[in-house]
């Protein structure tokens, strides 16, 4: 699977802004947002802000790093 990550800023209404659009094979499948210091032990980790199609999840996970996020996304697809 061919992943492409494009850095963006997302207006989450909080200090969480640093984000990536995640594309696989040219399609947007997810938006990952880096959790700010507001989130204590989860700060610095990556939150599935949005998932599209099979990546959508009612209980969006938090990933320790981008590698873990991509491997989870690959599992869903």
């Amino acid at each position: 699977m061919n992943f492409h990550l494009q850095p963006v800023q997302v207006a989450t209404g909080s200090a969480d802004a640093e984000s990536y659009l995640v594309f696989t094979d040219g399609f947007l499948v997810a938006v990952l947002v880096r959790l700010s210091d507001q989130h204590e032990e989860a700060s610095g980790q990556w939150f599935l802000e949005a998932g599209f199609g099979r990546v959508d999840n009612p209980h969006p996970p938090i990933f320790v790093d981008l590698d873990q996020a991509q491997s989870w996304i690959a599992d869903q697809l």
């Binding site: 209404g13 909080s14 507001q38 989130h39 989860a42 209980h59 969006p60 938090i62």
Partner: protein, 387 residues
Amino acid sequence: MQHMDQPIVVLLAESDAVIGMDLSDALEQAAYRVLGPADNTAEALRLLEQETPTLAVLDVQLKDGRCTQLIRELRARGVHFVVHSGARQDQRLNGDVRGAPWLTKPAVSWDVIAVLDELSLSDSTPSQEEARSEDAPLLRLVQSAEGAPNPLVRKLERFTALSATDRAVLESISAETRYVAPHTDLVREGDEPGGVFLVMEGVACRHKHRASGHHQIMAYLLPGDLCDLDVALLKAMDHTITTLSACRVARIAPQTLSGLLEHHPAIARGLRMSTLVDEATLREWLMNVGSRSAQERIAHLFCELLLRWQAIGLASENSYALPFTQADLADTTGLSTVHVNRTLQALRRQGLIDLKGGQLTILNLPKLKALGEFRANYLHLGDRAAA
């Protein structure tokens, strides 16, 4: 037996200095004498050498590592302890802490105090349950409940006029309570319902869970709330009831309840009204998860809880206990914990709420109500006055 004017001595071992100080203050306010807080095992052992406490509150992982030696020394001295730890609860089965009450850190201080109260009572009445329920009054509860009306009586009186006999009957069915630790299932989905649970202190919830383990909380049961008036008609529970905080709970046998409904029409009316309010509340919660934004959901819930705590005399004009974790709020409102956290921060930033140490203060009630489009009609709190 511990004498009332001699404070019970508690050793407090806590790696986080701020949590340690907060907890120490809370324990002292609850008339315990605190040794510590010690943030490392060496310090805790030194305190233990100087004076043997009656009880201890332990964070298992201290600044200098896991406090295995401290646990061994406490066991050797017969000192009961409560584990207050951020470690996963499934580790509670591990060797040296087996059997000790376990609170997930940071616990609301009243939970810690409730567990210590329970341990101190079991220490002073070794002859167990029977002796406790009949002879030894629950010291702190009796003190705190003095003059405070029974929450069930108080709640039903919002709906209907009760006679002195009605009140006495309600007092008697709710007199025999037992302590239940936080996050304990009272009855599980699939179980045969063996009676109706009545919460007298603390907060429990109804919930259902998915195979993945994710929960949806469908109701909070506050003091005076009982679960499912007619549950005895069912063969098996279709949801689970679990304590969120430490609770005092009474179990009412189905025969007792049917007797109440048959012979005490005012109580029957009050209980049926309360069932209608439970259903109306569920409709509002459904509106929450289906039709309101994250901020609107939390605003609505906080307004509802203020009125519900006030109705049983357990909230001030604008402040009440919120003994839930962010994960509990997430499971209630259908949000992620990330969104709950962002929402709480946003409500703080707007000057609407303050949330500290499990106590929520609503700083601007009119604005919070407007945000959540909160109308109290579904709680039917003024019905008796209107009738």
